[in-house]
């Protein structure tokens, strides 16, 4: 069994920058930006997902996005870092249930066994022909992020994969 939630939009930012800026950004955001590859950190409604050696996805509530951007702005102005609002680029859904990993493995080539992809792990990967961000929130709960123009494809793909595993 598996549940595919509806898409939702939240406050999302891509933070990129030099190592020296990472701690400051995390301190302001309230979440330590993880230095371990492919790991996510959360604190309250905020989360930071490691996407690359100098790239993090920051998550917040949707109505908080403008204030966060405004707050970051003086901190980062003309300094070696970049914060870009992607709240409208990215949408996300939750896939949950005993079949969740097997559904994802219909289009995602990663090893989603908990020994290889534990809770708290996140990565940019593919689902079929679309790029997604995958974050394991619990053994049977995955957060799936996609660009808005790929959302319809991703959702159809998940529904079709679930049909084949019923």
């Amino acid at each position: 069994m598996a549940e595919i939630s509806a898409w939702s939009r939240t406050g999302q930012f891509i933070f990129r920058g030099r190592p020296a800026m990472v701690e400051e950004a995390g301190a302001f955001f309230g979440v330590t930006l993880p230095q371990t590859p492919c790991r996510a950190e959360t604190a309250g409604a905020h989360a930071a997902l490691w996407l690359g050696p100098d790239e993090w996805l920051l998550l917040a509530d949707a109505d908080e996005a403008d204030a966060l951007e405004a707050g970051f702005s003086p901190l980062l102005q003309d300094r070696p870092a970049s914060l870009v609002d992607v709240s409208h680029r990215n949408v996300c859904l939750t896939l949950s249930g005993a079949l969740a990993a097997r559904i994802l493995n219909c289009g995602c080539p990663l090893d989603l066994d908990e020994r290889a992809f534990p809770v708290g792990m996140c990565t940019r990967t593919i689902l079929g022909k679309a790029e997604i961000i995958l974050w394991r929130r619990a053994p049977e709960v995955f957060w799936v992020g996609a660009w808005r123009s790929f959302a319809a494809y991703v959702e159809k793909f998940l529904v079709e994969a679930r049909r084949g595993l019923a």
């Binding site: 939009r9 891509i14 990129r16 920058g17 030099r18 100098d54 790239e55 403008d66 102005q77 003309d78 300094r79 070696p80 870092a81 970049s82 914060l83 870009v84 609002d85 992607v86 709240s87 409208h88 680029r89 990215n90 097997r102 493995n105 219909c106 289009g107 995602c108 080539p109 990663l110 090893d111 066994d113 290889a116 079929g128 022909k129 679309a130 660009w147 808005r148 123009s149 790929f150 319809a152 494809y153 159809k156 793909f157 079709e160 994969a161 049909r163 084949g164 595993l165 019923a166």
Partner: protein, 993 residues
């Protein structure tokens, strides 16, 4: 109604579940557990198809994947029809409908059999020799005729009604094959704690043990031992895939497995995918793929009723079917004696066992002799009789002498066994020729794989089990696990050992002796190839097509090699072996396509204003993965009428256009300007915040890669736009340069294509429409000139407002967060009503920009155009120290005179719209092939100008302005005048309106 050849007891069929099926329209009955082949044999039906080339009657040769003859089409209707299935692998289900292939009008009377009578005219390579000329005949006569006459099944006529799936999987140890070696390996690996996947192509796991009624393992009959093993495996971390054929071994231990999930069920019960493609990435792989029995190559060895001996034994023991009433067993290997004994047990009269070998000892032959079977050593079959079924075989001493015609309805033959090294060889593992068994066996693996059991040339059951367990433990240990101590199995079994026979039988005599049954290659064909000078097995294979059929030569390769070796007078190992290629057995298109059909064929990306356009009856076009509104017809307007109306409206009033698909990249950091200065040909360091610049980007070879408008939002922040199709390529190139060439630059890239929706408002009325909506942005001509950008609010929505034009009119591009765009689009459209705004699509956009001579990268450029070629020389900052492609722009070929240049063309007849792609010549009277000067890149009817316009790339084009050139078309020659590429408002005054 069970068949007359069904044995009363035994076998693994379920006699309580009779199943009805039809073959060529005739009804039959079988049982659950039958294959189509075993069910047909239970009714005495051997004849099942016609051969590929000679249309000879063919029967069931084997009981498994190696079957070359018994190919059938299965499916009750066209939407569920699958051709070319091996009847030996088709599981019976209620209502199954099967038909024979490659016969006309019927299986028993086939006019194509004329090919058999005229076969002296059809030797190997006949089509290379015969159908050479006239050349024009190939396409219209030869090819269609050959394709119709020589072939396999037909494609289904309707779309596939089933669905297919794909899964990725990972494991520490993948075991391919669940015969004795595979089961032992899987248990040994799983006992160590490794994650194991065990796959087998058959419905039931157990391999050869399923037909072994004699062996005892650990005191249990073989089939009980198998059941106990499976129960044990299921209690561990083992994923068991049955009906799952490992068809391909790909780099880095990736194995493709085609699982038949519901293909063995009636269509009405297929609520799951018909097949699933597994892509398994394994740490270690144990190949326990077994062996195939080798046929003997003797005259008339292809008549229906002639079968491999071990397959006959499987039909008897596993399916409780007598393959015939009176049999001759023809062998060069001890194992056939075991088959003879089992067949006799099942009620088949064994007329004789003819053995090519002079001296035959060993436990199985001894037992056969003790049982009173007639054993003739040093004996061959000189020929066989019978039309649609074998009726006799002529036995003859190998030493020569008189023949004895023995009546029979069945011949079981065995040339010994060939290890199945297909997957090992696909993985580029090296093979070694083993003289002891006269076959190739795995030597050095190229991947993390371990071959176990019969596929390595080990044939005794005890040795196979020990080898399997050992390789399973080794694989687990290589995967980082500590193997558990397992005790060896105690085995009581009689095994046939010894070398296999390779080549044609002695005393070839008359009549065709088939090597490759599926491609109809005879021993004489191989001889002919050698006689004609072919020495390499690769050439012999291609010339004769031996081993090139869909069965991959499973039953034929070693015999072909043996014949070639004998003719060339060289040992087999010096002739070499051809390469095995995937798939091991044919794989359906459906399983490879998986879910990628219909709506999931490819992502369909839509813009935030898509629903609005749908509601307005827009006609869409595909631009890459995007759906873009092409035009918005009113009433019964044609495209031409709609586009003309939209164009005029933009020129005279205003138009609204969805430009959201443009690629967008946010470039941020203190070095952002320096970075863009190096990427683009233009200068960016001096671009002030609040200003826009049109930028051109080159590849390192100096040719135009992409273009777009770049806005500076702040000192350290740029909003870069790219072409719709170029977005991923441009971002990748930028990121590549940053990571590899300029890691010192403090600048970062983020794709914002989907973040911002873009509403273009173009036309003389644009400012008047937007002015009331812009809340905190002064968009007056003085405050916001052409090529400027402002941030602020428009109708309450955060915006990055560009004043920019791709139409030549006063215009704006309103970038707003994608989720807000539908609302703002409505607001702008409503505000525009008073100004006669129209929605326009990409076709109108194309016409408007062509009227202004604006290029589209990929339409005017083709990857070989420099900026100067397309009239963008002004955008190249030659004084800059460097930019990507700068050095290449001074290459001699790129500055040579006579390069193709962008110009405009006007037809003498203003109503003629040139064809895009049409070639341009100076003299239409010259001889073909003409000297072509260039080609038309864009061509439209311009409503505002009242005539057609075209852009073209023409050699030395700018120097030809004023000349008349010609466009030769199939029906006429069109005269054109070369003009400037800017057709409308050449001074650009309207931009500043």
């Amino acid at each position: 109604m069970s068949g007359a050849f069904r044995v009363g007891t035994g076998g693994r069929i379920d006699r309580s579940r009779p199943l009805h099926f039809t073959f060529d329209g005739r009804g039959y009955t079988g049982f659950a557990g039958d294959t189509l082949a075993s069910a047909l044999l239970s009714h005495g039906q051997h004849l099942i198809g016609r051969s590929f080339k000679y249309h000879r009657p063919r029967g069931i040769l084997s009981a498994g994947a190696e079957e070359p003859n018994a190919l059938v089409g299965v499916g009750a209707d066209e939407a569920h029809y699958t051709p070319n299935l091996r009847a030996t692998q088709v599981e019976l289900y209620e209502g199954l409908v099967a038909e024979s292939q490659n016969r006309f009008p019927s299986l028993t009377f086939d006019v194509g059999e004329i090919n058999n009578l005229v076969s002296p005219l059809l030797p190997a390579g006949f089509y290379y020799k015969t159908f050479m000329w006239p050349a024009s005949f190939w396409k219209k006569v030869y090819e269609p005729t050959i394709r119709k006459a020589a072939g396999l099944g037909r494609a289904p006529r309707e779309a596939d009604a089933d669905f297919y799936a794909r899964s990725y999987a990972h494991c520490d140890v993948l075991v391919v094959g669940a015969g004795p070696a595979g089961l032992a390996a899987a248990l040994a690996a799983a006992a160590s704690g490794a994650r194991v996947i065990l796959c087998d192509e058959q419905a039931e796991l157990g391999g050869s043990l399923l037909a072994d009624t004699a062996a005892l393992i650990d005191g249990k009959p073989a089939n009980e031992w198998v059941a106990a093993m499976l129960a044990d495996l299921q209690s561990r971390d083992v994923k068991i895939l049955s009906r799952a054929t490992a068809f391909g071994y790909f780099p880095h231990n990736m194995v493709g497995i085609a699982e038949r999930v519901t293909h063995h069920l009636p269509a009405s019960l297929r609520d799951q995918p018909r097949e699933r493609l597994w892509e398994v990435r394994a740490g270690q792989i144990v190949l326990a793929t077994g062996a195939h029995e080798r046929p003997l190559v003797f005259p008339g060895n292809d008549r229906p009723g002639i079968m491999l001996a071990d397959s006959a034994r499987q039909f008897a023991n596993r399916y409780a079917v007598r393959p015939g009433s009176t049999a001759i067993v023809f062998t060069a290997h001890d194992s056939a004696y075991g088959a003879a004994l089992d067949l006799a047990q099942a009620g088949v009269r064994i007329a004789a066992i003819a053995d090519l070998r002079e001296t035959v000892e060993g436990p199985l032959p001894s037992r056969a002799r003790r049982a009173g079977l007639r054993v003739l050593t040093g004996t061959t079959i000189a020929r066989t009789g019978g039309q649609l079924r074998v009726s006799s075989a002529a036995l003859q001493p190998v030493a020569g002498g008189t023949t004895e015609d023995v009546p029979c309805d069945f011949v079981a033959m065995s040339g010994g066994f060939t290890p199945s090294v297909h997957l090992f060889s696909q993985s580029l593992g090296k093979l070694r020729f083993d003289d002891a068994i006269n076959a190739f066996v795995p030597d050095t693996p190229a991947e993390a794989s371990h071959s176990a059991g019969a596929c390595t040339g080990i044939f005794g059951l005890a040795a196979v089990l020990a080898d399997g367990a050992g390789k399973g433990a080794l694989a687990a240990s290589r995967a980082g696990f500590t193997p558990a101590a397992l005790r060896d199995s105690v085995v009581v079994a009689e095994d046939g050992a010894g070398p296999a026979y390779a080549g044609a039988t002695p005393l070839p005599g008359r009549g065709k002796a088939f090597v490759d049954f599926q491609n109809d290659v005879t021993s004489k064909d191989i001889g002919l190839a050698v006689q004609e000078g072919f020495r390499s097995i690769e050439h012999i294979k291609r010339y004769t097509t031996t081993g090139m059929a869909t069965d991959q030569g499973k039953t034929s390769n070693m015999n072909a090699l043996g014949i070639a070796a004998e003719k060339l007078g060289k040992p087999v190992q010096e002739i070499g072996l051809t390469t095995f290629r995937m798939p091991y057995t044919p794989v359906s298109f459906g399983v490879l396509a998986g879910a990628s059909r219909g709506a999931l064929f490819d992502p369909v990306r839509t813009t935030p204003a898509h629903d609005w356009a749908v509601a307005r009856d827009a006609v869409f076009e595909d631009v890459g993965q995007w759906k873009r509104a092409r035009y918005f017809p009113l009433g019964n307007e044609t495209m031409h009428q709609a586009v003309a109306r939209e164009c005029l409206a933009v020129r005279r009033a205003a138009g609204i256009f969805d430009a959201s698909t443009l690629g967008k990249i946010e470039v941020v950091g203190p070095d952002a300007a320096e970075f863009l200065n190096r990427i683009y040909t233009n200068s960016f360091t001096k671009l002030a915040p609040g200003r826009l610049r049109y930028g051109v980007m080159l590849r390192e070879d100096g040719f135009v890669l992409d273009d777009g408008v770049v806005g500076r939002l702040a000192n350290d922040r740029f909003h870069v736009t790219t072409t719709t199709g170029g977005a991923p390529r441009v971002l990748a190139m930028m990121e590549d340069y940053l990571q590899t060439e300029w890691p010192d630059l403090n600048v970062w890239l983020t794709s914002i294509t989907d973040q911002w929706g873009t509403i273009a408002v173009q036309g003389p009325g644009a400012r008047d429409i937007l002015a009331p909506l812009a809340e905190n942005i002064d968009i007056s001509a003085a405050a916001m000139p052409h090529m400027s950008v402002r941030t602020g609010l428009i109708s309450g929505v955060k915006t990055r407002l560009f004043r920019v034009s791709f139409t030549g009119e006063l215009g704006y591009e309103i970038n707003v967060p994608a989720g807000e765009m539908p609302r703002l689009w409505e607001a702008v459209f409503a505000a525009g009503q008073a100004h006669e705004i129209v929605a326009y699509g990409t076709e109108t956009m194309h016409v408007l920009r062509a009227e202004k001579g604006y290029i589209i990268v990929g339409q005017e450029t083709d990857g070989t155009a420099t900026p100067d070629d397309v009239g963008l020389g002004w955008a190249v900052g030659h004084k800059k120290p460097d930019f990507v492609g700068k050095r290449s722009l001074s290459r001699s070929a790129l500055v040579a005179p006579g390069r193709k240049q962008l110009i405009g063309l006007l037809t003498e007849d203003p109503t003629i719209v040139l064809e895009e792609g049409a070639h341009i010549v100076a003299d239409p009277a010259q001889k073909i092939p003409m000297t072509m000067l260039g080609h038309v890149t864009s061509s439209y009817h311009s409503a505002v100008l009242g005539h057609s316009i075209a852009l073209a790339m023409v050699a030395g084009g700018r120097d030809r302005i004023g000349q008349t050139l010609y466009v030769p078309m199939p029906d006429r020659v069109i005269a054109v005048r070369v003009v400037s590429s800017v057709f409308y408002d050449p001074e650009g005054e309207r931009l500043n309106g």
